[in-house]
Amino acid sequence: MAELDSEFIAETLSSRQLLALLFVCESQRKKVLSTLNFCGTTKPSAWTEFVDRFAARLNKLPEAERIYLINSHLQSSEEIDIYSNAEIEALLDQHHVLLVSLVHELEQDARF
């Protein structure tokens, strides 16, 4: 596996943060991000389906391998250059509030 260092912002993020970022990128690409409502007690089905799908793939993997796999999806399906700090920083700034909320959701989920 790739050796980690702190040169790149993406490599300082946890698997939960990256998974939340992946969801945001996917929703943005599908042009549904603005329609999702995370304020109520019932979470959007797009989010629960996304989490279920990745739980099956990730829950037996250690943290480093979870990060690698999520990064693979970010780089391919979402065409994010994870080694471009400017690109990652812009995404984190733009969706800061939502990302914090999604990471909190993942922290409450025993599968992650």
């Binding site: 596996m1 040169e7 799908r53 993997l61 391998e65 796999l69 693979s72 391919s76 250059d81 080694y83």
Partner: protein, 597 residues
Amino acid sequence: MKIMFVMVKEDYIDPMNIELLSAMAKQAGHETFLNVLEHDNLMEEIGAIRPDVVAYSAKTGESNVMYRANRAIKAAYKDRIFTVMGGPHPTFNSMRMQLYGENLKLPLTFSGPAMPRVVEDTQLDALVVGEGDESWPAMLRALAAGGGLDGISNVVTRTNRRADGSVALQERNMALDDLPYLDRDVVYGKTRLKEFGMRSLMAGRGCPFPCTYCFNAKYNAMYKGKGKMLNRYSVDRLLAELEDMVRRHPTQFIKFYDDVFVFRTDDWLIEFADKYPRAIGLPFHCLVRSDLVRRDPEILTYLKKAGIKSISMSIESGNPFIREQIFKRGMDAEDIRFAFDLCHKQDINTFSNTILAVPVPVIPDPADPAFDQKARELCSHLETYHRMNLGALRADVNFDGALDHAARQTVVNYLESLGLRRRILDYDIESVDINIQNGVVFGEFPELHPYPGTPVSQYTIDVKAFDGDFEKLHQNYQTESPFTCFTPQEKLEQVNLSLLGLVLLVFPSWRGLVVNHLIKRRWTKAYFVMYYLSKAYLIGTKIYPMKYSAGHILRTIKESFFSELLKHSRDEGEKFYQKRKGLNAPPSEVLGGPWQS
């Protein structure tokens, strides 16, 4: 300058590496030639052409043959011919490949039981690491001007070699549209590919997934921060090259050979699906991943619209422990089921690769007096090496004392739930079963071979199944397993299952007969014939269907049969090959192929 490319043997896939480098060389005003060691006399052609540069692109397993060829060239021509090797083998082994006139010492960072040895006497002048086409034009300019290559990125020479083994790499090429069209003429003039109706091309470069049997994980680490990992041609540029290819070479079928052709439904795929049928209109094959199809099923809708005939989606293992913990595939059985089912609903024929003979722990027999000790060691291995959380098992079972029957059964059940099995062959049978259950139309079942630069190779070294000597590997992964952890009987059954697995996709009702009886017999030659017939039928009618004259079909059957024979039986293949070509002379006199090492 005159540049001669050397390849070991022909295949049915275009050698796109040679075709691209040749196109770039011609673009710069050089002449290019090809020698195929399998059937061409290398020294005779070298003598007639007198090339300035001889270039090899080596995969592990064929590098030894190329070293031998190169030593013969250097013995005869010394500095009058510059020789260079690129490709995956030098990319991951450059630090231990001794160059012409060099006294190589390995970097001190190497240590441990799998310490690699220096590959002596390659007699090469230079190695190219990573994407060779990125340094190729600069290399040719320097050589034509009589200058050195020491300042060129990606290139290793005896004078610019770094003590730590690292190599300065250029940024990734992200402007693929600027590359010339592949020079297929240099290959078609010397090979049967000219008559073959299927042409190969890649729409892009790069794969970000961490599959441990693939070089991409280490490759991507090498290129970290050097540009976007995924790059592809624009649709218009891709179709323009295909149109040119179809106009100049008879073509019935196109194989897109990208590791992953599409990752999602995006503007590129929508444009491709719209324009390809009108511009090219030929059936095609490409590779995708099951998890990506499940995540974005519309991928198949657009590929179908474009005219896809067949698709590759590798399963790699039917066993969840191997798939998740050893291969790191990042997909589950439901991803696989969903994607294959959707393909079949859309009338897309499926092709899958599944790797057998993986060194993997087995669950000890509960009746074994040494069960307790073996179970403790296995659990410790899972926790320390695979970093698996066995807290639930440890809460139920106290490993400090002797385990009674019930405790042993609890351990066995728990380990089975993780995907571990009691016999090594059970893993392989499970892998064949998942292919049958998902209705895979055509499948290959190669045995795992460790290649340098892949994490799974390090795993096989760590578990003491492999000694780390990559130079002794055969160039094909469909021969007997190189791992020391398997018994001769297990190796026999693995080879037999790798052949009969495909037969079971044609006759799934034979499953019980095959796994319970046939794989145990020493009837491998008969199984090879069954394998060949199944493969010829499925490839010819379902995966790459094309129309040929009766004469061409007979010729293709004959050639492909011998090609498959060589892949599956090293000794028999060598004898047959030498008899057929009259190549019984010592290797120093006839550089006739990869089987005379």
